[in-house]
Amino acid sequence: MAQQPLPSSVQPTTDMYGGDEVSALVLDPGYSTTRAGYAGEDRPKQVVPSFYGKINYDNGTRDIFGDEVIYPRANFERPNYMNRDSVVEDWDAATRLWEHVLIKRLQPARATPAIRNGLNDRGKNDENGDVDMGEGIEEQEEGEKPLAESPLLVTEAPWNTTKNREKAIEIAMESWGAPAFWLNKTPVLAAFAAGKSTALVVDVGCANASVVAVHDGMVLKRSIQRSPVAGSWLSGQIRSMWDSSDPKVEVVPTFMVENKKPVEAGQPAEARLKKFDFVVPESFRAFEEERLLTEFKESVVEVWRGPGKFQGPNEDFVKSQVGRVFEMPDGYNQMWREQRFKVAEGMWDETAAYPPLGGGEEGRVQKGQTIPALIKASLEGVDADLRANLVGNIVVTGASTLLNGFNDRLHMELTAMYPGLRIKIHAAGLSSERRFGAWIGGSILASLGTFHQMWISKKEYEENGAGIVEKRCK
């Protein structure tokens, strides 16, 4: 946190910014990454891939988490604990991963209790009373739950199921012993991060693009619109584009390349690939390929800013312009001109999208799935009085919105749709703020002094059971 530390003699003026920090933890699980950190900070301390590591042994499996464990090894799978709906699917893995970030990485190391650290072991033969006492202490220590200090705020997709929500509070309360818990929907938090309580949140993440209207800090359920036209869909588009381009571009992730020689643009790669004496699991390779695709997205792909759709004369125009060169890990490089606009065009114009790689209709963009269509449909589900205000308060969040030209295109599409309205798009300039919008909102919320009356306390949970989360976190 880049802020001037206060001198220790000065009491922070809480009433000035309404903050009252209670060392709450904020956990923001997403399809691509899981973010966690302390409330009141401006970015999550822990960002780990939601694709966790799973090593299959003969006699069982072991889960490993974090970035530093990602290297090819035998039987190293990288499954995701969430499903494509950005909803937790594998609760065992989720619990372990969350424990990893929340407890192992974020909680201070605890001293081993004196009874177990072996320093006082000579007392074996002591009087019984001492031993009993020791056991008593041990039990008490055991009873101490890992998160007993920190209230926990967890984010969820607006379409999360009741069962999942109840499961979340169960884990927080029973496994970790959190003193208080709260579950909040990501669009609300993203709006908070942008400093708004009423906004139309356009969240284009990895697995899902969603448009949700937030009114006064609450999600309007009838306005929830989502489609898969997001980051991983874009990866699929890139794969299709590479596949259909001439010459065909092979996707060779970095870890496979041992050595490469520079080649001319468009010439086949001259690289020696690594040989592994084990079979690299498919999920690991897919994960690594995704990294490559992400790099391609970051450096090449661009959204056509307008005017008009990309298809047609604009495409011809772009063909005559200088493109961008991208070198693959194996040394193959090529200038990308109109393709780099075309891959992202499917977000805006369903007719421009590449057919999915495997063929079939499943991955195809439907008519109502483009982002303008989502916004339109979302506004349809909102009271007429709110619409103008919402269009004037559009919050753009999610890592996929960092695509070059995304906001310009969005603005253009919106002005074409609602020419009479004042359109204002709020998109954080800092890429971390765009990527961690929901987490930052949660950080703000959980450190607000006025929020502390909202927490579901342990006592309430014990009295009402897991169902309380439905009653309270509306």
Partner: protein, 648 residues
């Protein structure tokens, strides 16, 4: 580098305008602060521009001054939030400066507390009072109307809404703090299945159809309930202002109108680009027009301000005299000069810019320094006789009084009727130039008439005891007199006509009688004559009865009942008279004048003074017939006021 230097370099002749500048510069550079440790020569290298040297402190790191004190102590202090309403079950902890306790004690305990901070603070916290969150006070709840079962049944029944659904709505309203978009968004009421009658818990449960509700439906129901419960709790007449206002608003909620408004808003949202642009340009146009009118108004106001007089609250007696006026003028001119504004009045016409203020001059609030001239103008505008100079002076006096009090707000043009009367203010179509006398106006009336008619009119007036020249011709009196006069003239005209007709009839009758005498025996003729005279007699009788009635009634101001009675009598007489009058085919106007509406003469009689009636009786009337009698009574209606005045 200055322009001077540039010129120097380029070998340009330095023009004289730029000449003094370098000298000026040098002047500035003179007292330049001497930087320490810098030779004068080095400093002067910079020339006009001083060398930018920021004196830097050589100290590498400042010694902290505060480090003598022990570090401030902080503690993780538990607090509760009373807004949670769970009696402090949730104890959250935040870092707070440790209260300054006994320092020794602190120092001793410091190590342990820091260590145990992470866990529970052992035995310490219970001793202290756990503080309440400073944010608890921001917890504000909306108040949602409450109703009991019987209150619902007596007041809130609605065919469209069950009690369950109403309860559900109220709960949602409470949950979402009256945020209607949210309430509507989350509104998902599914009626409880009505159990089938079967005792065995049959599967026949009927689920009533769910009715989708619009936001207007919800609002309408809520406001209905809220307004009714408000009225139940506090009768409408006892509500305070804001309460009643709220009640009114809720009472008058119009769902249909709301829906229409929203449709309109949607339409507006879905405008095409061209429409949007057009509206924008129109709005711009309007703005421009408004700005222009604003400016215009501003200018006009300024103009008026210049034309208008300045009112003062100070005493004006000192300006009454000509010397005072002179000094005032001097003052005004001085003020004008000091303002350095073009004076709008030339110095000569300062005291009397009457011409500049056409209509508004005649007002009681005219400035004090003009009082006299206005008074004069008032008299000029009124067609007053010589006898009325008292009135115009009067308005000045009370107005001046008001001025002195300074309490009366200044009003320029709006005088009430009463005030107009008091100040003798009247408006006229057009006035002749110069002063006129009111009686001359009356004389003018006579001038058009023949001498005989003049005679007759004066006779008629004499009958009414009204002198031909009014003793005190105030505006009102002359007005009334004019009316009277016109009535008299018309009556005189009528009498002329009727006289002629009478004469004609007589001639014709005489002719007829002669012819009958020639042709037929005498018996029939006498009968006919009798008929004619009989009719006349009847007429007379009726008229006399009318007058008698008038006499007998003692009320001077004529009560309705009496008036009606008389009206009947008069009506009779009218009918009697019709026989005679209609024979003569009198012009309808004349007939109207003679007969009038039956009520009118009666009212007049009722109004008429008793003595006047007597007077009428006494006065001999030339050739009096029923018609004439009535006409006299008509006279009385119009003249009664003026005659009264005369008598006074």
């Amino acid at each position: 580098m200055t322009s001077h230097d540039v010129r120097d370099v380029l070998n340009l002749p330095s023009d004289h305008s730029a000449g003094p500048r370098p000298a000026k510069k040098q002047k500035i550079s003179g007292p330049r602060p001497n930087l320490k440790g810098l030779a004068r020569e080095v400093q002067s290298l910079g020339g006009d521009n001083p060398i930018a040297i920021v004196p830097e402190e050589a100290v590498f790191k400042k010694r902290r001054i505060a480090n003598r004190k022990p570090a401030a102590r902080w503690e993780l202090r538990g607090f509760t939030n009373s807004a949670r309403g769970d009696d402090g079950a949730l104890l959250l902890r935040h870092w707070r400066r440790k209260a300054d306790l006994d320092p020794n004690h602190d120092a001793g305990q410091d190590g342990e507390t820091q260590m145990t901070d992470g866990v529970v603070d052992g035995d310490k916290p219970p001793a202290e009072v756990i503080e309440d969150s400073a944010f608890a006070k921001y917890n504000v709840q909306v108040s949602v109307p409450q109703y009991s079962e019987e209150q619902y049944h007596s007041n809130l029944q609605n065919n469209d809404w069950t009690k369950e659904e109403t309860d559900y709505l109220m709960q949602l309203v409470k949950d979402f703090d009256l945020r209607w978009p949210l309430i509507w968004d989350r509104y998902d009421y599914s009626p409880r299945p009505i159990d089938g009658e079967g005792v065995n818990g049959s599967e026949m449960a009927v689920v009533p159809a769910r009715t989708p509700r619009t936001m207007e439906d919800l609002k309408a129901r809520y406001y209905e309930v809220a307004a009714k419960m408000m009225a139940v709790q506090k009768a409408v007449q006892y509500m305070t202002g804001p309460e009643f206002q709220l009640y009114e608003i809720m009472q008058n909620f119009n769902a249909a109108q709301e829906t229409a408004r929203k449709e309109f808003a949607l339409e507006r949202m879905n405008r095409s680009k061209d429409e949007a642009r057009e509206e924008e340009s129109l709005l711009l146009e309007i703005k421009r027009i408004l700005a222009r009118t604003e400016r215009f108004n501003e200018e006009r106001r300024e103009l008026y301000n210049r034309l208008d007089f300045q009112t003062t609250d100070s005493d004006i007696t000192q300006f009454r005299g000509s010397a005072g006026l002179q000094s005032l003028l001097q003052n005004l001119m001085n003020v004008d000069k000091s303002k350095k504004r073009k004076s709008i009045m030339a110095p000569g016409e300062g005291p009397s810019p009457q011409s500049a203020v056409p209509g508004s001059a005649v007002s009681e609030t005219a400035p004090n320094n003009r009082r006299e001239s206005i008074a004069a103008s008032v008299t000029g505008h009124r067609d007053s006789t010589a006898g009325t100079p008292a009135t115009p002076v009067e308005p000045a006096a009370p107005a001046a009084d008001k001025k002195k009090k300074g309490a009366q707000p200044v009003e320029k043009r709006n005088l009430s009727e009463q005030e107009k009367q008091i100040y003798g203010l009247s408006h006229h179509e057009r006035l002749g130039s110069g002063p006129t006398f009111r009686y001359e106006k009356i004389n003018k009336l006579y001038s058009h008439k023949s001498g005989q008619q003049q005679m007759r009119i004066t006779n008629a007036l004499a009958e009414l005891d009204i002198p031909p020249r009014l003793a005190m011709p105030t505006a009102l009196v002359t007005q009334q007199f004019e009316k009277l006069w016109t009535n008299v003239t018309s009556l005189v005209d009528l009498r002329k006509v009727s006289d002629r007709l009478d004469a004609d009839i007589k001639v014709e009758e005489a002719k007829k009688a002669e012819r009958d005498k020639k042709n037929k025996p005498a018996g029939e003729t006498t009968e006919k004559e009798k008929d004619g005279t009989g009719a006349e007699k009847e007429k007379d009788k009726a008229a006399e009865m009318g007058t008698k009635d008038g006499e007998s009634s003692k009320d001077k101001e004529g009560e309705a009942a009496a008036g009606e009675e008389k009206a009947k009598a008069g009506g009779d007489s009218n009918q009697g008279g019709d026989g005679a009058a209609d024979d003569g085919s009198a012009p309808p106007g004349a007939a109207d004048g003679a007969a009038g509406s039956p009520a009118k003469p009666k009212g007049g009689e009722a109004d008429g003074d008793k003595d006047k009636e007597k007077e009428k009786e006494k006065t001999p009337r030339p050739g009096s017939s029923g018609g004439h009698k009535r006409s006299a009574s008509v006279l009385s209606t119009t003249s009664d006021k003026s005659s009264k005045r005369q008598k006074k």
